[in-house]
């Protein structure tokens, strides 16, 4: 393993020029060809910069608008969401800020409303596209999932297994995002939502709208998963901070929420 040759990080995203006299500090940072601090700063929105980072090309106006609105849709899932609850649990106990976001990422990574669901749903858009028959087949037959640390999906990705009808925030988000440009997946989803919901046996979820938007942004499943994890962190952060100030005593402990089915009772010794 030992070698005299220097090893390198190969990247198409980032280039740096050193400060005079200090190779460990950058005087110029180039992202996909653009001077970050000499050109982009002051010109680009965060949505445009995010798009550039993921795609290595500038977005069109409609792509930037879509990513910007998607970021608003996802920024705060609200304090009942599992991932935000995880962050608040860090907050109320006085845990570190990073642990709050790590908790939100861990919980918000899963098959139910999390990054893994987005991965699966973006993958499904790649397989089924705008073909209803393909979606019917996809939903009718269990997917062949390779053995992994991830558990198998228990519902169709992008749909809410606990829902009864598509909620207003989901419908409004779909309408808004689909109207931002010529986005074929979002538009097709809007037109075929009811039939897809009938096939799935449950209503469209916000994750399904997000996945369609990511497919329209031509993001790969792993890019969509990563972006979804990123975009949902603001809500986790602020709710953790808020509950941190209020403290554990003003936060649910579920004092009456646990029932133990095999309580042996107070220990009575070996003769018990």
């Amino acid at each position: 393993m030992s070698t005299d040759e220097k090893e390198y990080i190969t990247t198409a995203i980032w280039r740096e020029e050193a400060e005079p006299g200090n190779p460990y500090a950058a005087s110029r940072c180039i992202c996909a060809g653009f001077d970050v601090y000499g050109d982009l700063l002051g010109k680009v929105s965060i949505a445009e910069y995010l798009f550039l980072l993921f795609k290595l090309e500038p977005p069109s106006q409609s792509q930037a608008a879509l990513l910007n609105s998607l970021a608003v849709v996802l920024a705060n899932p609200g304090p009942r969401d599992h991932s935000v609850r995880a962050a608040m649990n860090a907050g109320v106990g006085g845990s570190t800020a990073a642990s709050a976001l790590m908790a939100a990422l861990a919980v918000g990574a899963g098959n139910l409303g999390g990054g893994r669901e987005i991965y699966k749903a973006v993958e499904a858009w790649g397989q089924c596209g705008c073909d209803l028959e393909s979606w019917r087949n996809y939903m009718a037959s269990p997917q062949d999932e390779p053995v992994d640390v991830w558990l198998p999906m228990e519902h169709v990705p992008g749909f809410d297994p606990h829902g009864t009808a598509c909620t207003a925030p989901v419908l409004t988000s779909l309408e808004h995002l689909a109207a931002l440009g010529d986005f074929r997946f979002l538009r097709w989803l809007r037109e075929n939502r009811l039939e897809l919901e009938r096939q799935a046996g449950c209503p469209l979820a916000i994750s399904g709208v997000a996945a369609a938007a990511m497919a329209d942004l031509e993001l790969a499943p792993d890019q969509g998963e990563m972006l979804h994890l990123l975009l949902r962190l603001p809500g986790a952060a602020v709710h953790a901070l808020e509950q941190g100030k209020k403290g554990w005593a003003r936060y649910p402990f579920f004092a009456n929420g646990l029932k133990l089915t095999n309580d042996p009772g107070p220990y009575q010794g070996e003769s018990q």
């Binding site: 460990y24 445009e48 290595l56 992994d148 640390v149 228990e154 929420g257 095999n262």
Partner: protein, 276 residues
């Protein structure tokens, strides 16, 4: 009915469980046992296994469990990708729990660690099923190689030789675990690869997967029981880097970035705007 609002309503303030509970100020029940009396003399490994599996391992099994963690998983080597995270957290003066938490999460990797573990154990269980149905070992191995272009538990990044095999096999022999069905199956696969001049060599993951399968672990139990197994290697990496001057752990100069991206260009606000 396993989904829908009625299922959620049935669980509202109502988590029914047999894993345990804290009775504040009084006692703790752990998998149906009184923690402070019935489990007070347990080793931590025994308690951990009970918590995950819901059953107690016997002393021999616990000795194997602990030996695997000592021999196979505890390299204080800060260049290894997961341990490097612990060292990086140390050099930036981050906290120990953040370092170990992140490095542990990263250990669910495909090329090593937990994703390799669960694949190796599943491979052995599926091969066992295939053989019990009258199938052929070589046929199964060939099909797996064709499908995945790799064989779970065989081959290794950085080096082909797995230095952990000899000490672990010695310990396995001492403990008398070297005659189990799955353990022998791992060697049968290696013999097939050797006889067919395939260069793949077994790594420790397939051996440990076989050993734990022989004591009744499912692939998922094997994976979950190994989640913390690298931690004894991570802590020293964190302690070392966090005790030195900040920022000095294997620094990278700007020349270490080999850029393959777009040539320099100037930002134009958007494509549509350009067309206006």
């Amino acid at each position: 009915m396993t989904s829908g609002p009625s299922v959620l309503a049935a669980h509202d303030d109502n988590w029914i469980t047999d894993v345990g509970a804290w009775f504040p100020g009084e006692r703790v029940v752990y998998r149906g046992r009184d923690l402070f009396s019935e489990c007070a003399d347990f080793s931590w490994f025994k308690l951990l296994a009970l918590g995950i599996l819901g059953r107690e391992l016997n002393e021999r099994e616990l000795e194997l469990y602990e030996a695997v963690w000592v021999i196979c998983t505890s390299f204080p080597e800060p260049r290894l990708w997961n341990n490097r995270i612990a060292a990086l957290a140390g050099t930036t003066k981050s906290t120990a729990a953040l370092a170990i938490g992140a490095a542990t999460a990263v250990s669910e990797a495909k090329t090593y660690g937990r994703r390799a573990d669960i694949r190796a154990s599943t491979f052995l269980h599926q091969l066992r099923d295939h053989l019990q149905q009258g199938g052929d070992l070589g046929q199964f191995v060939d099909a797996e190689l064709k499908k995945s272009r790799s064989l779970p538990g065989f081959g290794r990044p950085v080096t082909k030789k797995d230095e952990r095999l000899a000490p672990l096999l010695k310990k396995v022999h001492e403990l008398g675990f070297d005659d189990g069905y799955f353990f022998n199956l791992t060697h049968a696969v290696q013999r097939y690869l050797d006889e067919n001049r395939m260069r793949l060599k077994m790594n420790i993951a397939i051996i440990t997967a076989g050993l734990f399968a022989d004591i009744g672990f499912t692939p998922r139990e094997y994976y979950v029981c190994a989640v913390l197994s690298f931690s004894a290697g991570m802590f020293p990496c964190y302690m070392d880097a966090s005790s030195r001057e900040e920022g000095v752990f294997l620094p990278l100069g700007t020349e270490r970035l080999r850029y393959t991206g777009h040539s320099d260009r100037a930002w134009r606000h958007s494509l549509e705007e350009d067309l206006d």
